[in-house]
Amino acid sequence: MIARKIPLIPTLFLLPSLLFLSIFIYFPLVQNLYNSFFEFSVFSPTKEFVGFASFQQLIQDKVIVAAFINNVKYAVISVLFQVFFALILATILEDKVFRRIAPALRVIYFMPVMISISVIALLFTFVYNPQMGLLNSFLELIGLENLATPWLGNATTAIYAVIAMSQWQSIGFITMLFIVAIQKIPKELYEAADIDGAGKIRKFFNITIPQVKETMFVNVLITVTGSILVFNEPFILTGGGPGFSSTTLSVLMYEQGFGKDNMGYASAIATLIFVLSAIFALIQIRVSGTGKDD
């Protein structure tokens, strides 16, 4: 395309988007960094400059470390389940052996994705309820009642109960992305492998995995970024508790800002969240080639 002078109307077309992004995306980003160096409360008219104090507090805060470890647990378990298990699930669903039942199963696995996270989280307060919860009732039904525990009220199990719910909700989403990727693999590759007498497991490792490598990588990034940001699930299910056992960086940020009114410290936590997630988002933009012309 040859560079030419851009007429007035197209320039005007671009303006609303640039305004929206400037005011509601880029300005808050800068403002958040600025806020990290101040101490203030929601309705205080002035902000008190404190320099790097909030960041120093951040490094020494044991709760931040606990929250970060929970984010890491979230990321590791989610990658194992949502990427590796989802890939195996997608491969099985695309296997000709299951062609009759696969369409129905795909719809079922995808169902939780369609439902709002607040509804899902409220539903799981019933699943994990210590008195009448589905999980404990089920354990009782199959004779494992000694495993039953107040899943969300127990400091050891709370974070895993929250993570388990996320897996339950999101696995269908990642499986769908893999199914789309597997369907794009040229059929000839599998036919050639059939002629060579390759079994299903060899075909999975030698054809499917190399062919969906890029999707796998993008899915790992989506999952890890999601785990760094995770807020709704722990906030609704446990509020981060008991104690700080199931808190995450985002929940802490919210609690510090809107619970304890330490807006400056909350901004410093937000800056940390931004740095962590931006690294992965940048890699994702590069890998998926977003915005390329072809």
């Binding site: 040859i2 560079a3 052996v97 539903l123 269908g172």
Partner: protein, 300 residues
């Protein structure tokens, strides 16, 4: 949900049918592992489906039965739970969610397609800079913007109004929307617009009469993704709206839960009502959703 290669499947079926007997033992083990895997798939389907099924069934029970008869069907079907939920506040949350979602969709599609139009048709260093500026927007996340947005909306006197949600939702959906629509616009043949220019069509005419009508599929994709985001968004909805009459469904449900205490049947009815519109929308437009998910690869 996704089309499979039917022809290949039929060929495969013929091949399995004519396998020689020598392979009978192999077939037996293969069959055994097939049924083991099938069992696993069905068990997993049950784990996914049962809690949703339980939600619908229990929404028709009384508190006593939810508590004491976890697995059974209701002895009396309390359909009035739905009427109670609706009149106790869900109707207002529902209405607010509809307004916020529709306004967000309208603005995102309009503003996003306008920007995509310019970005796909012109090339200069300014356009390139604008494109990078817009793509960079996907790196931002609501958590980081939360406190500054709260300040901005307070300055603009928009806290506790629907605009607080609509404007921020639009901003956060624009980058992905523009990327998707621009990619589609780039595939529209240039001959179309050249002949339109010869016919005396203005820039605006090319946008409104050629580009938009040709882009219905990608616009529907945007509509589904945006609807899904706006209907389910929780963080902004909780922080920016305090007034009970303006709350949307995700934040309203939390209030609803606190207000009801033990009236679980009504709470579950409210949860089912909250889920219905998206389930219907996604079932109707699933084709466009799958496309958006795989092209955008960005979780709602």
């Amino acid at each position: 949900m996704v089309k499979t290669d039917l022809k290949g499947e039929f060929l495969e079926r013929d091949r399995t049918a004519s396998k020689p007997r020598a392979k009978a033992k192999l077939n037996f083990t293969a069959g055994l592992s097939k049924y083991t895997v099938l069992l696993g798939l069905l068990a997993f389907a049950a784990i996914i489906l049962y809690p949703l099924f339980w939600m619908v069934i229990s929404s028709l029970k009384s508190y006593d039965e939810i508590y004491n008869n976890v697995w059974g069907l209701p002895s009396v079907w309390h359909f009035e739970n739905y009427a109670t939920a609706w009149s106790m506040g869900i109707s207002s949350y529902f209405f607010n969610s509809v307004v916020v979602t529709l306004a967000t969709i309208f603005l995102v599609v309009l503003i996003g397609s306008m920007a995509a139009f310019t970005l796909s048709r012109y090339r200069s260093k300014w356009i390139d800079a604008a494109l990078i500026f817009i793509i960079g927007g996907i790196m931002m996340n609501p958590q980081v913007a939360l406190i500054p947005l709260f300040e901005i909306l307070t300055w603009l006197d928009l806290i506790n109004t629907r605009w607080a949600l609509i404007l921020t939702y639009v901003a956060f959906r624009l980058p992905l929307t523009i990327i998707l629509i621009r990619a589609f616009f780039l595939s529209i043949p240039k001959e179309l617009e050249e002949s339109a220019i010869i016919d005396g069509c203005s820039e605006f005419g090319i946008y409104a009469r050629i580009y938009l009508p040709l882009s219905i599929p990608i616009i529907l994709t945007t509509v589904v993704l945006t609807a899904f985001f706006a209907w389910n968004e929780f963080l902004f909805a909780t922080v920016f709206i305090d007034s009970e009459v303006l709350k949307t469904i995700p934040s309203g449900l939390m209030n609803f839960k606190d207000a009801l205490r033990t009236d679980w049947g009504v709470l579950l009815s409210g949860m089912v009502i909250a889920s219905i519109p998206m389930v219907i929308l996604l079932v109707l437009l699933q084709k466009f959703l799958v496309r958006g998910l795989s092209e955008g690869s960005v979780k709602g």
